[in-house]
């Protein structure tokens, strides 16, 4: 990024060790006061060496983010880590290692990196802008010492040769200048200077500036966007408001008025699985059939929500994330009243065959509140030793549940928030009903609880889909920045700046000696040979061929002196 500095100032000491470079380039100020130190610091920050170190630190800093569980992605795994490593975890937490990408030290590294980048790229952009508007640099004194050079004689007048060269180079989209303060027609002067390939440096700058823009887009998204997850069972409707989310992660600047007022009903969820072969049980498709209204008054529309096929509604996007089963239960209490009738979402215990577990809380049961813990096997089969039941397939071919009953106080009135997937106070406020309170059931079966505590009926299965709703205003800017970055890096790798000079002088024998020199940043291209060939084609007379077509030997000769000349040339062009 900061190679302008490096190239100009480090150039003479190519072999110098890096620790010396910085010293050479910016001697430490002595007695310069705070301004001097600031300036020194700024110079240090914008060197390539610092940028390389910061790049390295960003990469290194990202590593723990992949090794340790991260709070924003998997808070439950972080809790698990705290349980497993009770003494180590608090220390790691002190260094924000469970939220590396939100950590102050990580922010410090990337902000320094981007400041370094901006401090280098922005001045360079201005310099490049001036260079694009300035006249191409005048011809060096000895064109034949350039990496690419040719000379020949012609009968055409010097002015004519230069005029033709000017036309030719203009036609090849070079920026052309007739050197040495020529008059408007370019007459009477001896050389033409031409330059093209600014796109390379433009691409380079665009790439780096696009990375800056990408960072801002990410910041914009995380400040003004939001993301929420909701679990929706077939037949249920979700209205987009904060209270309906199971999990909600707003950006810093989020306002609850930002939530578009849509409603959505899950009519049907269908998972398709391979039914035979080695891949039996692998899911091949998930489809959530939904109906939605953009606003409470707008017409209802249907949509097939699938993985890789999100729904856009009111500025938000809705994604299908996960699915599972919600067994439907009817619970009657000791008095015979229906205390509960609903579908209860169960969470997967394993993904392959969708064995799932869940709890049913019946706070309305009287006199005692009732609770149940159940395991669901969508396709129940006995293990080969006949001792256990497992699920053999993810689809509900033979659904069975095992249920354990509890009686007592659910603790819902204590004010402490509870997970709907867990029972609290087992053995304390909530008493298991023992072996008689356990039962394996198929859909449609009713289980009468011991001691007349009531009954529970397993009505059947519905499916649930978990949806992610989010809005990210940084999405589009990030995409544009990313596309610009790629275009920029490709342009900077493919386009090189090329300079061509043509000089025509009257020779002793009355003929005109034409010298053409070329300087390409990077390796020479064949374009130069084409230009020379075209120039000669304009003026060529048989027999005037002096240097011959032996390009190979020319290249060879040019190569030998290239390093000197190129170093000299780069020194002249990089003056600030």
């Amino acid at each position: 990024m900061n190679d302008t500095d490096s190239a100009t100032e480090i150039e003479p000491g190519v072999a110098a060790p890096p620790e010396r470079q910085a010293a050479e380039e910016t001697p430490r100020p002595k007695g310069l006061g705070p301004i001097g130190w600031l300036r020194w610091f700024w110079r240090q920050l914008t060197t390539m060496r610092t940028a390389l170190i910061l790049l390295f630190l960003v990469a290194l800093g990202a590593v723990p983010g992949s090794i340790l569980p991260q709070r924003p992605q998997a808070p439950e795994k972080v809790d698990q880590y705290f349980t497993d490593h009770a003494s180590l975890a608090p220390w790691l937490d002190r260094f924000s290692l469970f939220d590396v990408f939100g950590a102050p030290w990580f922010a410090a590294i990337y902000i320094l990196l981007f400041v370094s980048l901006a401090g280098c790229v922005i001045p360079r952009a201005f310099k490049h802008y001036r260079a694009m508007r300035a006249r191409p640099p005048a011809a060096p004194r000895n064109l034949m010492r350039l990496p690419q050079s040719e000379s020949y004689e012609t009968d055409a007048e010097p002015d004519e040769v230069l005029e033709e060269a000017r036309k030719l180079l203009r036609g090849r989209r070079f920026r052309v200048d007739v050197a040495d303060g020529a008059d408007e027609n370019g007459r009477g002067k001896s050389s033409v200077a031409a330059e093209k390939g600014y796109l390379g440096e433009t691409g380079n700058l665009v790439f780096h500036l696009a990375l800056l823009a990408l960072l801002f887009a990410l910041g914009l998204g995380s400040s003004f966007g939001y993301r929420g997850n909701v679990l929706l069972t077939e037949g249920n409707t979700f209205a987009n408001s904060l209270s309906r989310y199971d999990q909600f992660m707003p950006g810093r600047e989020f306002d609850s008025d930002d939530l578009p007022p849509f409603t959505m009903t899950l009519d049907d969820f269908r998972a398709t699985y391979e039914t035979q072969g080695a891949k039996r049980g692998q899911a091949t498709d998930y489809l959530a059939k939904v109906r939605y209204r953009e606003t409470p008054t707008s017409p209802e529309k249907s949509y097939d929500l699938k993985v890789n096929h999100p729904l856009k509604v009111g500025g938000a996007k809705v994604y299908l994330l996960n699915h599972g089963y919600s067994p439907v239960f009817t619970v009657r209490d000791a008095k015979g009243n229906v205390a509960f009738r609903d579908a209860v979402p169960f969470l997967q215990m394993e993904n392959r065959n969708q064995t799932a577990e869940g709890v049913i809380k019946v706070p309305d049961a009287e006199p005692d509140q009732l609770a149940f813990y159940a395991i669901l096997w969508p396709t129940a089969v006995a293990t080969p030793d006949q001792k256990q039941i497992v699920s053999a397939f993810p689809a509900p071919l033979n659904p069975m549940i095992t249920i354990s009953s509890f009686k007592g106080d659910l603790g819902l009135d204590s004010g402490t928030p509870q997970s709907v997937y867990k029972l609290e106070g087992i053995g304390k406020t909530l008493q298991p009903l023992g072996r008689d309170g356990q039962k394996i059931m198929k859909p449609g079966e009713t289980f009468t609880l011991p001691n007349g505590a009531g009954s529970v009926r397993f009505e059947g299965l519905r499916e649930w889909a978990s949806l992610s709703v989010n809005r990210d205003p940084g999405r589009m800017p990030a995409l544009i920045a990313a596309i610009l970055a790629i275009a920029g890096v490709v342009a900077s790798f493919m386009v090189r700046r090329r300079r061509v000079w043509v000089r025509a002088t009257a020779g002793e024998d009355g003929r005109t000696v034409v010298e053409v020199g070329g300087l390409t940043l990077g390796n020479p291209t064949s374009e130069f040979d084409d230009i020379v060939a075209a120039l000669r084609g304009e003026q060529d007379k048989p027999g005037t061929d002096k240097s011959g077509d032996d390009n190979a030997s020319t290249d060879q000769a040019a190569g030998d002196k290239a390093s000197n000349d190129q170093a000299a040339a780069s020194a002249t062009e990089s003056e600030e």
């Binding site: 190679d3 150039e11 990202a62 990496p147 380079n204 091949t284 699938k306 995409l479 090189r496 390796n523």
Partner: protein, 335 residues
């Protein structure tokens, strides 16, 4: 042909590929061992063309590696020719394997780790073939074949998976774009890595020869002084430039692969960047290659230091493939 027949054919083609690559590797090694030595002149020519990037960090000084190609005595070309022939045949079988596998599964043939790794090996061999024909870089053959055989060995021994359908998350046209880009970039980075490793050996040898020459007085041409296969690879400068060239080809593709992955992630998971382990390591790999490209254009870092950075980056790339999938649980568990 039924899909079962196609699947069987594809397995047979895989076997042919591995066998052909192994024999090609041996032939390449024989070419390096008994083939013609390089002439010293190629080196001096290349040395002269070093230009410290004056205007753009990314505009680097890659003199075409065509000077790497030097004249060879015709009678000693046999091993090399045989190696190239076997290699191209193996490449054809490899291509046939992927086509038949794709037809058997009725989808793009990179839907699981097995297919992904075999496709990367294919991309590496393809990149090598391009580099060989374009820059006459046959000396890389033995190393690229070795890498391909190792990759295919790992794929077939530990990752083999029968033809099957895609998991729903992968069922998107993005698999053709994002995964292909990742495969191509990885294949090209592998070739750049091979060239970089050779560079480090050759540079050390050249330095030794220079010291020896300084002590002995009369100048010795490096290839005369050095024994072993290093005498038959081009100069360190050319290897370095070849590695840079291939990296400069692969880097924008890798960038595009990451960005297209982000677009796909946005479609599939509802966010374009979520610091999933795969995303983290793709990012680290990208940073490491960016550091290499910058170092390569910075005085004081070019040469050995930049080469080591490039190998660190390649290590990150390998870790992203093997380490991330088997050590961490993430959303990319299938690739």
């Amino acid at each position: 042909m039924s899909t079962a027949d196609l699947a069987e054919l594809s397995d047979k083609l895989m076997l042919s590929t591995v066998v052909l690559y192994i024999v090609a590797m041996v032939a390449y090694a024989a070419d390096l061992g008994f083939g013609p030595r390089r002439r010293a002149e190629a080196r001096t020519e290349a040395e002269a063309k070093v230009l410290v990037g004056a205007g753009g960090a990314e505009v680097a000084d890659d003199t075409p590696a065509k000077s790497a190609a030097t004249e060879e005595e015709p009678e000693s070309r046999d091993w090399g020719r045989l190696a190239v022939l076997l290699n191209v045949l193996g490449w054809g079988a490899h291509l046939g394997f992927m086509v038949t596998r794709g037809l058997a599964a009725e989808r793009w043939p990179w839907g699981n780790m097995y297919e992904f790794l075999t496709a990367i090996a294919f991309a590496a061999v393809s990149a090598y073939l391009v580099v060989m024909f374009r820059y006459k870089a046959r000396f890389l053959g033995a190393f690229v074949m070795l890498a391909a055989v190792i990759a295919l060995g790992i794929a077939n021994i530990w990752l083999y998976d029968k033809v099957g359908p895609l998991v729903p998350a992968l069922n998107s046209y993005w698999i053709a774009i994002h995964v292909s880009a990742a495969i191509i970039a990885t294949g090209a980075f592998t070739v750049a890595g091979a060239s970089t490793i050779l560079y480090l050996f050759k540079a050390r040898q050249e330095a030794r020869v220079a010291v020896a020459a300084g002590a002995d007085g009369p100048r010795l041409a490096p290839s005369d002084a050095a024994g072993g296969f290093l005498a038959r690879v081009p100069s360190a400068d050319n290897l370095d430039r070849l590695a840079l060239r291939v990296t400069m080809f692969a880097f924008p593709i890798w960038t595009a692969a990451i960005i297209m992955g982000a677009i796909w992630a946005d479609e599939a998971w509802g966010r374009y960047w979520g610091w999933d382990p795969k995303e983290i390591w793709s990012f680290i790999t990208w940073i490491a290659y960016a550091a290499y490209l910058h170092a390569r254009a910075t005085a004081g870092w070019r040469g050995r230091k930049a080469a080591i950075l490039s190998l660190v980056a390649f290590g990150c790339l390998l870790f992203n493939f093997f380490g991330v999938n088997y050590m961490f649980s993430g959303l990319h568990s299938y690739a």
